[in-house]
Amino acid sequence: MSGGIFYRILVIVGFVSLFHSAYSAAQHRSYLRLNELDFLGLPLDISIQAIFSLYLIVYGVLQVSGKFKEIKASAELDNKSWGTFRNIPSFYTFSHRGKAFSQFYQPPTTKSHLEEVE
């Protein structure tokens, strides 16, 4: 998640920059008022900073908001093999009675031995 932190910082920087340009605009406005000039539009640098920081924030938010998921229903199953679906762990047999046919098989002798195995 180091990329996530990077984009979070990008969003914060964008907010600070946007606030700064808003403050600059307010100051420009008060400068015009004190000098009794007409408002003809903001200085170009403030406009550029505002739009740039808007894009910075939106890009950061877009990256922070999370990755898109594949909408194809089979997207998650594409890289699984057929054998994966046949694998049912609940039906595993660890103690099959066929082991009694082995020539090395030693049958349990006492009842306590039976309980121990189980």
């Binding site: 946007l18 340009s21 808003a22 605009a25 307010a26 406005r29 408002f39 539009g41 903001l42 406009s47 505002a50 739009i51 920081s53 808007l54 894009y55 924030i57 939106v58 890009y59 938010v61 877009l62 990256q63 908001s65 999370g66 898109f68 998921k69 594949e70 909408i71 194809k72 229903a73 089979s74 997207a75 998650e76």
Partner: protein, 109 residues
């Protein structure tokens, strides 16, 4: 979980569709608020503000497509026209709210 689309005969994962749309919705809401703040900051009035909104929506649409990939967006969304037009007017009100508020903060007072 999955629904059959008759026309294309492709099964979609509905959960993933909804998740993607909620991500886009989140970004669009924040974009509406922020571009409203920027429009108010720039001192836009009247139709210039509306034009700025259309500009912001379109550029966000391009950014979303860029994130999904211009060639691979079909893996994530069913239609990209819907991505552009969904909630256009709903977010316009968020935009106007922020626009007028910040305009008042910066340019009037």
């Amino acid at each position: 979980m999955s629904s059959k689309n008759k026309t294309e005969n492709v099964a979609y994962n509905e959960l993933a569709i909804r998740y993607n749309l909620s991500v886009v919705e989140y970004v669009r809401t924040s974009m509406a608020a922020l571009s409203g703040c920027t429009a108010g900051l720039l001192g836009l009035t009247g139709l210039y503000g509306a034009a700025f909104y259309i500009f912001a929506v379109t550029s966000l649409w391009l950014m979303v497509l860029f994130k999904a990939g211009f060639k691979t967006w079909k893996n994530y969304f069913i239609s990209r026209k819907g991505l552009l037009t969904n909630g256009f007017f709903g977010h316009l009100f968020t935009y106007i709210l922020c626009w007028t508020f910040i305009y008042g903060m910066v340019h009037v007072y």
